[in-house]
Each structure stands twice: as structure tokens, then as C-alpha cells.
């Protein structure tokens, strides 16, 4: 067996490698269409195709596709309504887009050999910055300077504010960072784990085939673990999209009602 090939195969970072599909640049900036862009495009196309098809149905008694899409609609609408109130519904299309963008990216990432768009910090970071920009921009546009009451919750005795305000400011600044890192780290670590267990199982079973029977037993255990991890990662893929969306709603709620 080729030694070098074997070693690239067990490199769990390889799956995050960005490679150019189409060389593009604008004003000297490299904006090449990469595998990352390709899978992002796939997610967006699938999302538009699914919801576009479902929305074109308009049946009084929905079929399976329409029903699924409407469950998604109701799910996001309830999430927005319960965390940000009725006024929060003006952000419903944004939260819906965000949730399903991340959801489709995560789910496509679960397919072997697919690229996980959300495993790149630049993507999750950009989404988090978008969210927090909207929160700040809308918060100031709607509430003016009273938006900054967010950092000084009412009802505390005045000396407390010397501690409270810095804590609130830091926690606010930490929001985009944690929002971006949570999704990025979950997808990255999850996919590394999947890759490690899969290659581990394959190598051990390979060793068992060349005589080391005990290795086969461990290999089968590792394979079972890989299956369990796949199930877990599927859960994480859905859950992290949900967490991203619901935290967006929570932050938008602050922009809508800063004094709360």
C-alpha cells in the first residue's frame, strides 16, 4: 500500500480543505468559486427548490412536501413569536432564512464527501456579525439612545451599576463571538470525530483481515461508535441550526425591547 496515500486518508482535517473550482478575482481580490461556495450554492438551491415547490402547492389539505414546509414555517414562526413577541415577526423572513441556510448547510455536511460550509469560521462569523449588526442597527433606529438601557437594567441600587454595566457590555460583545464559535466548533469537532472513528474502524478491520483478529473486534466497536456518532451529529446539525436561530431571536428581542 502507498504509505503517503494512507496518511492523507487518515488526516481528519483534509475534509475542511478549500479547493478552487473556478478561478475568479475582482479588483485583485481572490473570489474564486470553491468547493465551499459550491456546497453553499447547493444548499441554497435545495432550500429554494424545496420551499418553492412546497409553496406552489397551495393545497387546502397539504400533501407531504407542503406539510413539511408548513411545519418548518410554523416552527420558525412560533420560535420568533415566543422569544421576540409579535413585533419580532417583522424579522421572521430573516430568521427563517438564517435557520434554513444553516440547517441545509449542516445537513449537506452530513453526507460523506460533502463539504460542510458551516465548519468555516469565516462563514459562521459573517452570519453572527450580520445578526449583531441588525440587532445594533435596528435597536438604535427604533429606540434611539434608550437602546443602551440594555447595558443598565433598571431596578438595581446605583453602586451596582459600576459592576453591572461592564458585565453587560462584555456579555453583549461576547454574543457574536460565541454565536460564531458555537456553530463553527460544533461542526468542526463533530466532523473530525466522525472521520477519526470511520478511518480508525477501517484501519483496524484492515489489520484484522491481515491476521490480527483482536484488532477486528476493536474495529467493529469503533464502527458501532461511528454509527452512534453519525446519529449524534445528525442531531447536532439540526440542533445547532436551531440554537443559532433562537439566539438570533433572543438578541433581536433585546433590540425590540431593550428595557426588559
Amino acid at each position: 500500500m502507498n504509505f503517503a496515500l494512507q496518511n492523507t486518508a487518515i488526516d481528519p482535517i483534509h475534509q475542511f480543505q478549500v479547493s478552487k473550482w473556478l478561478d475568479l478575482s475582482i479588483f485583485g481580490v481572490d473570489i474564486s468559486f470553491t468547493n465551499a461556495s459550491g456546497f453553499m450554492l447547493l444548499g441554497v438551491v435545495l432550500c429554494i427548490a424545496f420551499f418553492g415547490y412546497a409553496a406552489s402547492k397551495k393545497a387546502l389539505v397539504p400533501g407531504r412536501t407542503q406539510s413539511m414546509a408548513e411545519i418548518g414555517y410554523g416552527f420558525v414562526a412560533d420560535m420568533v413569536r415566543s422569544t421576540a413577541g409579535e413585533e419580532g415577526l417583522r424579522f421572521f423572513p430573516f430568521v427563517f432564512t438564517l435557520f434554513f441556510f444553516v440547517f441545509f448547510a449542516n445537513m449537506i455536511g452530513m453526507v460523506p464527501y460533502a463539504f460542510t460550509t458551516t465548519s468555516h469560521l469565516v462563514v459562521t462569523g459573517a452570519l453572527a456579525m450580520l445578526v449583531i449588526s441588525i440587532v445594533i442597527g435596528f435597536g438604535i433606529w427604533k429606540n434611539g439612545l434608550s437602546f443602551f438601557k440594555l447595558f443598565a437594567p433598571s431596578g438595581a441600587p446605583w453602586p451596582i451599576y459600576f459592576i453591572l454595566v461592564p458585565i453587560e457590555v462584555i456579555s453583549f460583545l461576547a454574543r457574536p463571538v460565541t454565536l460564531a464559535l458555537r456553530l463553527f466548533a460544533n461542526m468542526l469537532a463533530g466532523h473530525i470525530m466522525l472521520k477519526l472513528f470511520a478511518t480508525f474502524a477501517a484501519q483496524l478491520i484492515g489489520a484484522a483481515l491481515s491476521g490480527a483478529v483482536f484488532m477486528g473486534v476493536v474495529g467493529i466497536l469503533a464502527f458501532g461508535m461511528g454509527i452512534a456518532l453519525n446519529a449524534l451529529e445528525l442531531l447536532v446539525a439540526g440542533l445547532q441550526a436551531y440554537v443559532f436561530a433562537i439566539l438570533t431571536c433572543v438578541y433581536l428581542n433585546d433590540a425590540l425591547h431593550p428595557s426588559h
Binding site: I31, F51, A126
Partner: protein, 179 residues
């Protein structure tokens, strides 16, 4: 942990290059941001302009339809209740009428029966009287016959004793003994 992992994987890669960690490589970041912006905006606009309004329209129409159907059902239910009440009223009326008719018939029959009973009673009484009259007549006749027999027997007895009593005396003695 990530760094440890990097160090772990480092020696698998060619020795001359430092290990690149793809998510932290800079060269693809502008491209990623560019395509993210375009694709996210595309998704946002197609969802918010075309798809979501259509879906909310469908959902709203359905809930309107359900509400109107429920209204109609309530209306029909009310009508049914009314019809049932009317029916119950008519049944009650019919029952009352039937009861009245039955009572009337019963009263009529009662009256007829009392009249008939009275008539029959009177007839029986009459017959009884006649019968009693006849019985007492018969008894009187019988008593007369007995008296005659007693007179004859007394005549015969006195004759055996060699005596002779007049018929009038005999008759008087017999009737004294009998009464």
C-alpha cells in the same frame, strides 16, 4: 485541544510546509464572504419576496376556511337544535292530545258501563223479586198442603182412637200446633 490535534496531524504532512488548518487559511476568506453574501442574499430575497408570502397566504386561507367552516357548522348545529326543539314540542302536543282522547274514551266507557250495570242490576232485582214472590207462593201452597195432610193424619188418628172430630176442630188444632 485543537492545537494538540494540529500537532498530532502535523507529522503526516510534508515536512517543508507548515501545517495549514483550512478554516484559518486566509486566501479563501474573501471568496467565502463574497459567495456567502450573494447566496445568503439570494436565499433571503427569494424566500421573503416570493416563497414565504405564498406560504403564509396558503396557511391564512386555510385557517380562514376552517374558521368559516366552524361557523357554518355552529349555525347548522343551532338549526338542528331548533328543529329538535320544535319536534319535541310537537311530540308533547301529540302526547297531550292522545292522552285527552284516551281519557275521554275511558270516561265514555265508564259511563256506559255504569249505565249497563245499573240496568242489569235492576233487571236482576226484578227477577229476584219475582222469584221470591213465586217461592213464597209455593211455600204458602206447600204449607197449605202440609196442613191438609196434618188434618187428614189427625182425622185418621182420631178415627183409629174411635173418636170423631169435626173438620173445623181438626183444622183449628192443626193450625195451633203448626204455628
Amino acid at each position: 485541544m485543537l492545537l494538540a490535534l494540529l500537532a498530532e496531524t502535523a507529522h503526516h504532512l510534508p515536512d517543508d510546509a507548515p501545517p495549514p488548518f483550512p478554516p484559518f487559511e486566509a486566501w479563501h476568506m474573501p471568496g467565502q464572504l463574497f459567495w456567502l453574501a450573494i447566496l445568503f442574499a439570494t436565499l433571503y430575497f427569494s424566500l421573503s419576496r416570493f416563497i414565504l408570502p405564498k406560504m403564509s397566504d396558503t396557511i391564512e386561507k386555510r385557517s380562514d376556511r376552517i374558521a368559516s367552516d366552524l361557523d357554518q357548522a355552529a349555525k347548522l348545529n343551532e338549526q338542528a337544535t331548533e328543529a329538535q326543539q320544535a319536534l319535541e314540542l310537537r311530540i308533547a302536543q301529540a302526547k297531550a292530545k292522545a292522552r285527552e282522547t284516551a281519557n275521554k274514551a275511558a270516561a265514555k266507557i265508564d259511563a256506559e258501563m255504569t249505565a249497563e250495570t245499573a240496568r242489569v242490576d235492576a233487571e236482576i232485582e226484578k227477577k229476584l223479586d219475582a222469584a221470591e214472590e213465586r217461592i213464597s207462593a209455593l211455600r204458602a201452597t206447600a204449607m197449605q198442603n202440609v196442613e191438609q195432610i196434618a188434618v187428614d193424619a189427625a182425622d185418621a188418628m182420631t178415627a183409629r182412637f174411635g173418636l170423631k172430630a169435626s173438620a173445623a176442630d181438626l183444622k183449628k188444632a192443626v193450625s195451633t200446633a203448626l204455628n
